[in-house]
């Protein structure tokens, strides 16, 4: 285990940004998490500080000789400043449940274990004792699941999990019990939104056991045409079946999205081209950008790239801008707390600079 320092690891947990995964022009990332609890301790909601400390100590012991997490770091959340916590949240490495609500203290012994090089980690003392997680570029449910599964095998062979012969892995909330598995993809669907087919598609997926959310998970808003699609149930199906089902349905959604994009390009090429370049122009020259506005404009540029209407910046630059254009990241780079209007100015500065480094040329 190596010490954690965000300044020495500026890209900590951001391997997925490189857009190297399959279909990464439509699917930004794939995430799989599994919930596990240890035998002999109450769930987090009832756990005493001594229980939480004992759980973290047990995890620490296993991680000393872990293979999947050989170069992992253990980050105790309450030892971080609020801004560092927010940065980890903005990178989707920790949940609000783990850091505690704004204004309230973080629970003791809440920790993130993550690797600077491998897309694998876990949260300790979250809603469940352990939340094993992997986040990969593009549309890659199978490999993402296998990565988490290897860590699960390792941890489970040393730490006794709470397991019930009928209900499977026991979780604090019964919506997660059984496999404890939640697989989700972050998918960019501007074509379906513009052709107004999106509601049909979203309704379709909810009829086949999947559900959708906004960028920041449960209860969050859909912005920048980004949808998080995941399995709704965790019990009564095997892990492989859950993964295969998500794979199959999302592949169909990707297909619909690509059809919608071809329709747009065929029926309204000038409108689309104008929209894409306007989005680019605003991002490249605006002097103040709200987060939602930035996300919507990035969506336009992302669409343009995928349709080859412009030939740069790369998807990597867009992904990176999306993460580093969030509030805590902006404050970190400008070394101090910013007001809402200062944030918008700082955001526009950051975006202009990021895009200037990757000046595109007009596409075909």
């Amino acid at each position: 285990m190596i010490p954690f320092d965000l300044t020495s690891m500026p890209d900590f947990g951001l391997g997925w940004l490189d857009a190297s995964g399959p279909y990464s022009d439509v699917v930004l990332s794939t995430r799989v998490r599994i919930a596990r609890n240890l035998q002999g301790y109450p769930f987090s909601v009832r756990a005493k500080p001594s229980d939480r400390a004992a759980i973290l100590a047990a995890v620490r012991e296993v991680l000393d000789h872990s293979i999947p997490l050989a170069d992992g770091v253990i980050v105790e959340i309450d030892r971080l400043g609020k801004r560092e916590q927010e940065i980890l949240l903005e990178r989707h490495l920790v949940s609000r449940e783990l850091t505690g609500k704004p204004g309230s203290a973080t629970h003791s012994s809440a920790a993130l274990v993550a690797s600077n090089h491998e897309p694998i980690g876990l949260m300790v003392n979250e809603e469940d004792h352990l939340r094993l997680q992997s986040l990969m570029s593009g549309f890659n449910p199978r490999e993402t699941w296998q990565t988490v599964d290897a860590l699960d095998e390792e941890l489970g062979s040393e730490l006794p999990y709470a397991f019930h012969h009928e209900f499977g892995h026991l979780t604090s909330c019964p919506t997660n019990c059984g496999t404890g598995l939640r697989a989700s993809v972050l998918i960019h669907l501007p074509g379906l939104v513009l052709t107004k087919e999106i509601n049909k598609v979203l309704q379709g997926i909810s009829q086949v056991g999947l559900t959708f959310r906004g960028l920041y998970g449960e209860g969050s808003e859909v912005i920048g045409n980004l949808f998080q699609v995941s399995n709704q149930t965790t019990l009564g199906k095997s892990e492989e079946d859950l993964i295969d089902h998500l794979q199959k349905i999302v592949a169909q959604v990707v297909d619909y999205e690509q059809q919608a994009r071809s329709v747009l390009l065929r029926d309204a090429p000038n409108v689309i081209e104008d929209k894409v370049w306007r989005a680019y122009g605003l991002l490249r020259h605006a002097r103040a950008l709200a987060f939602d506005e930035m996300m919507n404009l990035l969506s336009g540029v992302r669409l343009g790239l995928s349709l080859k209407l412009l030939l740069g910046p790369s998807v990597y630059v867009l992904n990176r801008t999306m993460v580093f254009g969030q509030n805590a990241h902006l404050e970190e780079s400008s070394d101090g707390a910013l007001s809402a209007s200062e944030l918008d100015i700082q955001r526009a500065n950051y975006v202009r600079m990021a895009l200037a480094e990757a000046e595109p040329s007009a596409g075909a």
Partner: protein, 168 residues
């Protein structure tokens, strides 16, 4: 962004849902959200479930049953705690509230039976080394199946080391 309901305060709760075939997002300030039964602190988190569980809890349990079941002898979670939070207190709660949970799980998941991987817990300290050997062999097999030969080689070395130690 201002609250859709009062138009005065900053909206902090954003609830996206499908209504009449349309995707709708409602933006509410914490106090309007609270009025509508949404907990602003958790930004909509767990709401449908808590509601759902509350309804389920009432449907699945008559008052008489509710007093018979629980509280959990291990963590003292009561039916009311569960109804309110949607969370169970410990693994033992699954035995205490087994009947009620079976109904709830069927409603949530359409099933009560785990069909995923069967979990084999680590053996107790008494049979420590041979159990560890079994575990390592299981891990080796999975690593080979996943064609992760680098990891397999490491596990193979651990197995050899352990076998040698047991022989001595």
């Amino acid at each position: 962004m201002l609250c859709d309901n009062c138009g005065k305060n900053e909206a902090e709760v954003h609830l996206t849902h499908i209504e009449d075939n349309e995707m709708k997002t409602v933006h509410l300030c914490p106090s309007c959200a609270a009025e509508k039964g949404l907990d602003a602190g958790s930004a909509g988190k767990n709401l449908p479930l808590t509601d759902f569980l509350a309804q389920m809890g009432q449907a699945a349990l008559s008052d008489e049953e509710a007093t018979i079941a629980g509280p959990c002898s291990y963590c003292h979670t009561t039916v009311d705690d569960f109804r309110r939070s949607g969370r169970l207190g410990c693994p033992h709660c699954y035995s205490i509230y087994e009947t009620q949970l079976r109904a709830i799980l069927r409603r949530i998941h359409g099933s009560t039976h785990h069909l995923g991987k069967v979990y084999v817990p680590p053996a107790s300290a008494a049979a420590d080394q041979s159990a560890r050997l079994v575990g390592l062999r299981r891990k080796l097999q999975r690593a080979v199946e996943a064609e992760d030969f680098e990891r397999a080689a490491v596990i193979r070395d651990q197995i050899r080391e352990l076998e040698a130690a047991i022989d001595v």
